[in-house]
Symmetry: C2
Subunit: 235 residues, 2 copies
């Protein structure tokens, strides 16, 4: 199995992912929110690129929809929740549809639409995603959402973690960038020792969201493997 | 000073480098050849994208020109030398003009033409390039040539080495990708422990070019800082 990594949502090239299985990671925090919401019983997540688009869909039946996401890491005006996974608890989520728009994660998913299969991953479902990739046993490209079109250390080490779990079970052929992410994880298994140097980590810390960081960087809280298909993410 | 890295010749985006100082690195082996040829007294190096273009220029005065470079890491038919820096010795180079075409390094230089300043770097002139960047004290973008449009571990750790030398002398603000390259160098100061995992390292080893690898991965053999301007590289 060949494994490659694309380092940001703006570096996605059609020829690298067309017809392939991709794993989209925005660990701080969009894909962590998606996995959490689905784990806590929401029916589905609809990722959209623009705020107006999200509001337009929700208008149809406001009680059915939860509007979530961020701009500049902050809650969007008129939205129900921000991009904090800790807000998406069972009592507010169960049976609902979450419409999400974020700066990096939802853009990465939409930009990857030409892939054959789009899996949503984070630290909290890393082992489960690895198991799914092993089961499928086909070439895979990790798409790191990154931050504002830039490489993000947090997404990179998450890729390394999932690759390490895949490699425990089957033989893999890694590109240089995938080898480097595995190296980073192997030398920072606690995750935080490396991620604390990340620009986006510092930004979230500045906002006082330590609990979000701790949660998003925890391994294997759930075994659900969400998948994006025809505009919708389901577990 | 802000420092960023672009991970391959095909990932160069105009908005990231326009009007900026860039440092182009193809340590295995194009920029190592360029630095070596200039150190050994060649008058100038002309990088070109296509083989035909190189032959066309050399035709004007065959005795004045040296044709060098590679395709698929091998010497090009009709060329004088391959992409091995060890071939560019004083006795064959002095006073000549080297016309070079390679798969990654020369492409990276040509793709960076909208930058304000283009410095040519490798391990063998790493400290000298760092000193020049410190002296200029302006934002800089490292362009890793990469291999066939992919990230290359060898160019990445070379960036990390030069950044570590810059950081010793002035305060720097690193993007996440630059922080990661510095981390890689700081944990692999011998270079080879990390680079031996690189796809391109293995390819050159397969060709029996151990001496090239040892030479290209040696630090600070020379203090020349070549620069590309108006189609020509000079020391």
């Amino acid at each position: 199995m060949n494994i490659d990594i694309i380092i940001s949502a703006s570096d996605i090239k059609k020829e690298k992912i067309e017809g392939k299985t991709v794993v989209v990671i925005d660990v701080l925090r969009a894909t962590s929110v998606m996995v959490t919401a689905l784990k806590n019983g929401c029916e589905k997540v609809i990722p959209v690129k623009e705020v107006d688009e999200a509001i337009e869909i929700a208008k149809n039946d406001r009680s059915r929809y939860i509007l979530g996401g961020e701009r500049n890491a902050l809650k969007i005006e008129g939205f129900d929740y921000s991009n904090s996974p800790l807000e998406y608890t069972k009592d507010v989520i169960k049976g609902k549809t979450v419409i999400m728009t974020t700066t990096n994660g939802t853009q990465a998913i939409k930009n990857a639409e030409c892939a054959e299969r789009i899996i949503i991953a984070s630290m909290i479902n890393g082992q489960a995603v690895a198991d799914e990739i092993v089961k499928e046993n086909k070439d895979v490209v990790f798409i790191n959402a990154g931050t504002y079109g830039q490489f993000s250390m947090d997404d990179f080490i998450t890729s390394g973690y999932i690759i390490s779990r895949i490699k425990e079970k089957i033989s893999v052929k890694l590109t240089d960038i995938a080898t480097t992410s595995l190296y980073i994880y192997d030398n920072n298994k606690d995750i935080t020792s490396f991620v604390k140097g990340a620009t986006h980590y510092k930004r979230i810390l500045e906002l006082g969201l330590e609990d979000d960081l701790e949660y998003c960087l925890s391994k294997d809280i759930t075994d659900i493997v969400p998948e994006y298909k025809n505009g919708i993410i389901k577990a």
